[in-house]
C-alpha cells in the first residue's frame, strides 16, 4: 500500500504513468514483425526495445539498398518513366 502510493506519486511527478509506458511498448511491439509473429504474448520491455533497434537498423539498410537501386534505375531509364517514379516516391 505504502509502496504503491509512493511509486504513483513519484511517477506523477515526472508526468507519465507506468501504464502509459506499457501501452506504448505494446504499440511498438505490434509494429515489429519479429515479435508479432512470435505467439508468446508476454515479451519483456527490453526485448521489445532491442528488437525495435534491430528492426530500425534493418529498415535503414533496406532503404539504402532500395534508394541505391532506384537511383540506378532513374539514371538509366528515360525521362518520362523517371518522372513517374519520382512522382510516386515523392507522393
Amino acid at each position: 500500500m505504502s509502496s504503491r502510493r509512493s511509486r504513483s506519486r513519484q511517477s506523477a511527478g515526472s508526468g507519465i504513468t507506468d501504464d502509459q509506458i506499457a501501452e506504448l511498448v505494446t504499440r511498438l511491439q505490434q509494429l515489429l514483425p519479429e515479435i508479432r509473429s512470435r505467439c508468446s504474448d508476454k515479451v519483456s520491455a527490453s526485448k521489445v526495445l532491442q528488437e525495435t533497434c534491430n528492426y530500425i537498423r534493418s529498415l535503414h539498410r533496406e532503404v539504402d539498398d532500395l534508394s541505391e537501386r532506384l537511383s540506378e534505375l532513374l539514371a538509366t531509364s528515360d525521362n518520362a518513366q523517371a518522372a513517374i517514379i519520382r512522382s510516386l516516391l515523392t507522393q
Partner: protein, 442 residues
C-alpha cells in the same frame, strides 16, 4: 511444555559448560517458548518475563504499541543483561546457547547496524533523521516512520535500563553488540519468535526502520518497500533481506538494460532529443511507421521498374517461367519476388509487364527473347518485331497509371490489380491480330 523441554535439553547441554551466566539462557528459552505458543503457562521466575507472558495472554486487548514496547523491552533486556554477561564470559557460552534458538542463519552484517540501534535510544533518532537527507521522496517518508519508531524504541529502553538497574552496562552492551557479531545475532534470533506469534503491525514498523537503514546504504528504495507485503510471517528476516537484495539487483539490472536500449534507440531516431521515455517511445513508433511506409513506397517503385526497364527482370528470376502461362504468373511473381515488402510493388510490376508479354506465347523461346528484348530496349526501341509489338501497348497502360498516381495508396493498389487482370485478359485476343499485323510488314 515439550517445546520447553526441547529447549531445556539444549540448555541443559549448555549448562554443562563451567560458567554461571547460563541462568539467563535458561530463563530465556521458556520465554521464547511461551511467546511462540502465545499462552501456555511457562514457569518463569523472572518478573519481567512473567509480565511479558501475561501481556501475551492479553494480546487481543492490548494495543499494538504496548505489545511493541513489550517486545522491545524484552529485547533490550536481552541486550542489557545477556550481552553484558557475555562480555565477561568465555566463548563457549555463546556457542552453546546459540543452537537453542530455533531460527537459522546469520543475518547479513548490514543488519548489525540496525540492530545496534535497539539499545541506543538517542543515537537511533539521530541516525533516522540522517536518512532524511536521501533524495527520493519515499526515503524521507520512510524516515518519518523511522523516527516515530525510534521514539518508541527510546522510551522502553530507558525504562528497561532503569528498572533493571543496569544503566551503566547498557551502553557497553550496545557497543559489544555492534562490535561482536555473535551476540547480536543471538539476540536477534531470540527476539524473532515473539514477533512471529504477534500481529504483523509492529513487525511492519520494524521492517520500515530496517528498510530505512538499507536506503542509507545506497540501496534502491523502491523495490525494498515493494517487498513489505510479500514476506510471509514465518520466514526469517535474513532470508527476506537476501531475497530483497537479489530482487533489488535484478530490478536494477533490468532497468539498466532498458535504459541502455532506450539510448540506442534514441541514437537511431533522427532529431530525437526527447528526454522522457514516453515521448521517446512515441517518436520511435512514428519513425518506425514512416520507415515502413518509405520502404513500401520504394519497393513499389522498384517493382514498377521492370516494366519500364526490363533489365530489372533479372532480379525476379521466376517471371520467365510464367511467360508461357500468362494467367498463372501473378501468384508466382508475388511469391518469388525478392522485394522484402512486396505487397504493393509486385502488383505494379507484373500488372504492367504481363500485358506486354501476353503475346509472347507465340514466340517459341520466351526467355531468350526477353533477354534480347531487355538488352535492346535500352539502346534502340524500334528494331525487332517484339519491340514493335510492345510499343503500342505501353501508352495504353501508362495512361491509367498516370491517373492512379494521384489516388491514395489503397485505391491505387486495388484499382491496379483490377486493371491488370482485365487488361491481361483482353490482350490475348486483341493482340493476336496486332502481332500478325506487325509481323507481316517485316
Amino acid at each position: 511444555m515439550e517445546l520447553l523441554w526441547q529447549d531445556g535439553q539444549v540448555v541443559v547441554k549448555s549448562q554443562r559448560s563451567p560458567r554461571k551466566p547460563h541462568d539467563h539462557s535458561v530463563n530465556l528459552s521458556p520465554s521464547v517458548a511461551a511467546a511462540v505458543r502465545g499462552g501456555s503457562p511457562a514457569p518463569v521466575g523472572d518478573p519481567l518475563l512473567l509480565q511479558h507472558h501475561h501481556q501475551q495472554q492479553l494480546e487481543d486487548a492490548v494495543n499494538n504499541n504496548h505489545l511493541f514496547i513489550q517486545e522491545d523491552e524484552m529485547s533490550s533486556w536481552l541486550f542489557s543483561d545477556f550481552c553484558s554477561d557475555l562480555l565477561l564470559p568465555s566463548a563457549p557460552v555463546v556457542t552453546s546457547s546459540v543452537p537453542s534458538c530455533p531460527l537459522p542463519a546469520l543475518p547479513p552484517p548490514k543488519r548489525l547496524d540496525s540492530f545496534g540501534h535497539f539499545s541506543r535510544p538517542n543515537p537511533l533518532a539521530d541516525e533516522a533523521t540522517v536518512v532524511d537527507s536521501s533524495d527520493t521522496p519515499m526515503a524521507t517518508r520512510a524516515s518519518e516512520d523511522a523516527t516515530r519508531v525510534g521514539a518508541q524504541f527510546a522510551s522502553p529502553v530507558v525504562r528497561a535500563a532503569s528498572s533493571r538497574d543496569q544503566a551503566g552496562t547498557s551502553p557497553s552492551s550496545a557497543s559489544s553488540a555492534s562490535a561482536d557479531p555473535i551476540p547480536s545475532t543471538k539476540t536477534e534470533d531470540v527476539a524473532c519468535p515473539p514477533k512471529v506469534a504477534e500481529d504483523g503491525a509492529p513487525e511492519e514498523r520494524k521492517r520500515k526502520a530496517r528498510d530505512c537503514d538499507w536506503s542509507n546504504d545506497g540501496e534502491d528504495v523502491e523495490p525494498v518497500l515493494n517487498d513489505d507485503k510479500r514476506v510471509s510471517r514465518g520466514s526469517s528476516s535474513t532470508k527476506r533481506s537476501r531475497a530483497a537484495e537479489v530482487h533489488n539487483q535484478s530490478e536494477r539490472r533490468r532497468r539498466d538494460r532498458i535504459n541502455e536500449k532506450m539510448r540506442a534507440l534514441q541514437e537511431l531516431i533522427p532529431h530525437c532529443n526527447k528526454a522522457d521515455k514516453a515521448s521517446m517511445l512515441d517518436e520511435a513508433i512514428g519513425y518506425l511507421k514512416s520507415l515502413q511506409m518509405q520502404v513500401q513506397m520504394m519497393s513499389m517503385g522498384c517493382g514498377m521498374m521492370p516494366m519500364m526497364f526490363p533489365g530489372m527482370q533479372q532480379y525476379i528470376p521466376h517471371t520467365g517461367m510464367g511467360m508461357n502461362r500468362p494467367m498463372i504468373p501473378f501468384p508466382n511473381v508475388f511469391n518469388s519476388s525478392t522485394l522484402p515488402t512486396a505487397s504493393v510493388g509486385p502488383h505494379m510490376g507484373p500488372g504492367s509487364r504481363f500485358p506486354a508479354f501476353q503475346m509472347s506465347p507465340r514466340i517459341p523461346a520466351p526467355d531468350p527473347s526477353r533477354i534480347l528484348h531487355s538488352s535492346q530496349s535500352d539502346a534502340t526501341l524500334s528494331s525487332s518485331s517484339l519491340q514493335n509489338s510492345n510499343l503500342p501497348r505501353m501508352p495504353g497502360f501508362m495512361d491509367p497509371y498516370q491517373n492512379f498516381f494521384g489516388l491514395p495508396h489503397m485505391h491505387f493498389h486495388f484499382q491496379l490489380s483490377q486493371a491488370s487482370t482485365s487488361s491481361s485478359a483482353k490482350p490475348t485476343t486483341s493482340k493476336a491480330g496486332e502481332t500478325s499485323q506487325k509481323e507481316s510488314p517485316d
